[in-house]
Amino acid sequence: MRYLPLTDADRREMLSVIGAKSVDELFRDVPASARLAAKVGGLPDHQGELEVERAFQGFAARNLSPASTPFFIGAGAYRHHVPATVDYMIQRGEFLTSYTPYQPEITQGTLQYLFEFQTQVTLLTGMEVANASMYDGSTGTTEAVLMANRITRRHKALISGGLHPQYRSIIETTAKWEGFTANFSNTDAEGLEDLIAAVDRDTSCVVVQNPSFFGHVRDFTRLAEACHAAGALLIVVVTEVVSLGLLTPPGEMGADIVVCEGQSIGNGLGFGGPYVGLFATRDKYMRQMPGRLVGETVDADGKRGFVLTLSTREQHIRREKATSNICTNAGLCALAFTVHLTLLGEAGFTRLAELNHAKASQLADKLAAVPGVTLLNDSFFNEFTVKLPKPAAEVVEALAAKRILGGLPVSRLIPNDPSVANLLLLAATETATEAGMDPLVAALKEVL
């Protein structure tokens, strides 16, 4: 077996040093009833690299990759171009095969890029402090609600209907089992819900998304004021982080906690994971944050260096009193984010955002001209909602049959709600081309 260096001669020699007759003796603490006499049954034996690769090519061949077809799906995962440098860098063994930087003297590489990552996140979100990443935006959002509950010592969260339905679902699940109240405002495809009126003195936080799940761009300044007047926190979620290249950052609108899905920068679609959650807040809430934090310090020679810090918040020190049970984060995905954003820089990131907005505008105009299609958004970044004359799920299947991945039927994520059955959510990033938009428009005219 190519991954196992011990030879039979090694094993014999080692057993004699140990003073055991066989390896079975080393397993003697396992109850006899549970000791398998042979390998686990019903499973194949080892295979060579060639055979393994062929098997995966088989899996791949049974999927339709966006790379080979017109593609317009977003809804929390966006297809962007990732520069080759990013993937090269995260595959360097020193990054890929390193562990959590618990020994800072020999993990300055990881610690420094995480410090750069934290700084980049504060700049994009307009916040004061950020952690070293969460699993993803969806789980990070729930962690933000839990953090707001801790800070305010209140237990009622108010969740906007514009939040990604699966993010809502995770909050709902956590609320049920961890014991707090989550009130969900109605899903409103046109984005006109009134959250301000619902904030009261029992509210720990209000959770909104910008742009919303349906693509609307909103100013939350007044909502932030209403939250603060009631002693509640405003949590702003951003599922398309590229939008921050063009839009007013949540920090400038008065957000107290900002959570982003960082996948768009540096990380591919990957069928939904692993992604990277960005988590930022105000300095005053630093010690209530979940997850790992990297801080600057000096070494014994007075040289600048970085360490994991404020770990008295964390489970390995604080155990049942920890701010979160989180241990693992998304280190390598954070590196991909940081390398990509460093390549982009101020000029590139802004340009990327402008390109996304322009492509989506082109697509919106083309679709709005199709008979029977109504554009529901006055505002959007790179994603918007259209209303079709028939159920969107059927339309999307018909488009897929023509090898066009033409958006997400909202009913997939919000089932059993007739008001969204005909809604189709479409995204266009810098990877979209007119050569891809035109077949979508033509096919749509055929299937509607």
């Binding site: 080393l26 063994g93 020193e94 618990y102 630093m286």
Partner: protein
């Protein structure tokens, strides 16, 4: 411990400086070790590492919310970015460089074929919400891994979506809460038992779900004290959370009795599967009577740790807990796979949803490639070699270091610090001295139940000759410590790493968590130093 430093001086105060003048070059660099500034200290307006086309002119539809002012991101050209992160990479220790014996973390070889197949466009470039008809291969892949995990553990069901071990714990404990609720016992069973040696995530998870955590002491053999456990069981107990093999690297030899007692008391048995590597392919946890167990794919099944993540923590479930598995469920109807998402009717009562989309697909792909490469025969050999390597380390060091417990260990060898008594050398000092010898230290001060713990997990990936060299290094360090005159040397270590000991107290007392233009302590700006 690390001394507190006077930051304004940018200089060590009373820390023993050792024999080496680390400021011996004009640049501060030391050959291959290049002092590297932060990107924010390197950037220039007008530089960019990408070329993007001019956007087409369109009517802006941003609701008047265009960002005012700049973001503050630095501009670097591509070669600068490559050099910067390459230099940073060279300040890291990694599995690819050598023995990484971090106990409880299972730092095994990360095969590159796994990376390659995860990047096939038909796998790595799929949207999670594409029509299900266009991702049949992806769903088959996930179900293929699920089949392996169920068969290897002897459990009937698995929830694939948790993003890491702790997330898997949350999933498993929520399933237990759901099962209790279905029986009308959620309000009465509020206690969760966990051994004192448990990973910190166990009590943190239980507490988050509103359970009261009650610690169970260990016996003098490093195992759960069965009598104490039985005494603690009662109608108020919801579950026990037990790591097996445990965090002392020992198999809970009375586990069958434990699970019997737990079930007789009407409670559930959560097994922390962080140490599954010791028994994979050789013991099926299902045969031990557990109700659920998370599997860290980034440990046992070799998905890269990546500097602290991403991970994946699927949870295998017994028949009693399977109905409560969270969405999504991947279901096969005839020849077709479908995904049952929130609200869809399934054969159970899902506890809800824990993560967007379908779980850590990239980790599933790598883990399945690893599993298929080994097969049932190779995985059994993995467990045997991992256990053999750990016992070999234990046997080769037991005369000079102090094993915490008698008898064979499983996949990791645990020592306490009694062999360092009266030497003036602490576990921390000993670990830092290992860095100078070219090794990543073992896990220190965990588990908490052993004084000055040193937990060594070599894994199956280490060749005997490398293990012999590692053992030789530890024997030499031990001999040096025992001279009784080397404490200063140990306290000065490491001398040859990219950084010497870092002041963690300062970092926590005055947290600097982001770069600001005024961040640089005087005298520590490497560019300025170079100029001087």
């Amino acid at each position: 411990m690390v001394q507190s430093l006077d930051r304004s001086q940018g200089r060590a105060g009373s820390v023993a400086s050792g024999a080496v003048n680390t400021q011996g070059t004009f640049t501060g660099n030391r050959a291959l070790q290049i002092e590297e500034p932060l990107i924010f200290e390197m950037g220039q307006a007008g530089r960019c590492g990408v070329d993007l086309p001019e956007p087409p002119k369109v009517k802006e539809r941003l609701n008047g919310l265009r960002r005012k002012g700049t973001i503050g991101l630095p501009g670097l050209a591509e070669p600068q970015v490559v050099q910067h992160y390459t230099r940073l990479s060279q300040k890291n220790y990694a599995i690819d460089m050598g023995v990484y014996p971090l106990g409880s973390c299972t730092m095994k070889h990360n095969p590159r074929i796994n990376e390659k197949v995860a990047r096939l466009p038909g796998i790595g470039d799929l949207h999670p919400l594409q029509p299900v008809s266009t991702v049949q291969g992806a769903l088959e892949l996930i179900d293929g891994l699920a089949h392996w995990l169920k068969t290897l553990t002897g459990m009937p069901a698995v929830a694939m979506s948790p993003a890491a071990g702790a997330h898997g714990e949350m999933c498993g404990m929520m399933a237990i809460a759901a099962a209790l609720e279905a029986k009308g016992e959620r309000a009465t069973r509020k206690t969760v038992l966990a051994p004192e040696s448990a990973h910190g995530t166990n009590p943190a998870t239980a507490a988050a779900l509103g359970f009261v955590v009650k610690p169970i002491p260990a016996n003098d053999r490093g195992r759960v004290d069965l009598a104490a456990l039985k005494a603690a069981l009662g109608p108020d107990v919801a579950a026990i959370m037990l790591t097996n093999p445990n965090t002392c690297g020992l198999f809970e030899s009375e586990i069958v009795e434990i699970s019997k007692a737990v079930h007789e008391a009407g409670a559930y048995f959560y097994c922390d599967g962080a140490n599954f590597n010791a028994i994979v392919g050789r013991v099926r946890p299902g045969d031990l009577g557990i109700d659920c167990m998370h599997i860290n794919l980034h440990k046992t099944f070799s998905t890269p740790h990546g500097g602290g993540g991403p991970g994946a923590g699927p949870v295998v479930l017994s028949a009693a807990l399977a109905p409560y598995a969270p969405y999504p469920w991947i279901v096969k109807d005839g020849d077709t796979w479908r995904v049952a998402e929130d609200g869809a009717k399934v054969d159970g009562m899902p506890l809800g949803r824990l993560k967007a989309f379908h779980g850590q697909m990239g980790m599933f792909t790598r883990a399945l490639a690893y599993i298929m490469s080994h097969g049932a025969d190779g995985l059994k050999q993995v467990a045997e070699d991992a256990v053999l390597n750990a016992n070999y380390v234990m046997a080769a060091l037991k005369d000079v270091m102090s094993p915490a417990f008698e008898g064979p260990c499983m996949h990791e060898a645990l020592f306490d610090d009694s062999f360092l008594k009266d030497t003036g050398v602490s576990t921390l000092d000993f670990a830092k001295a290992m860095i100078d010898e070219g090794y990543h230290p073992m896990t220190m001060y965990f588990p908490l139940v052993v004084h000055g713990a040193m937990l060594i997990e070599p894994t199956e990936s280490v060749a005997k000759e490398d293990l012999d060299q590692f053992i030789g290094a530890l024997r030499s360090l031990t001999a040096k410590a025992k001279t009784g005159t080397a404490a200063d040397d140990f306290k000065a270590a490491p001398l040859y790493a990219p950084r010497r000991r870092l002041d963690e107290t300062l970092a926590a007392r005055k947290p600097v968590l982001r770069w600001k233009p005024s961040n640089n302590p005087p005298g520590t700006d490497p560019m300025k130093q170079a100029a001087e």
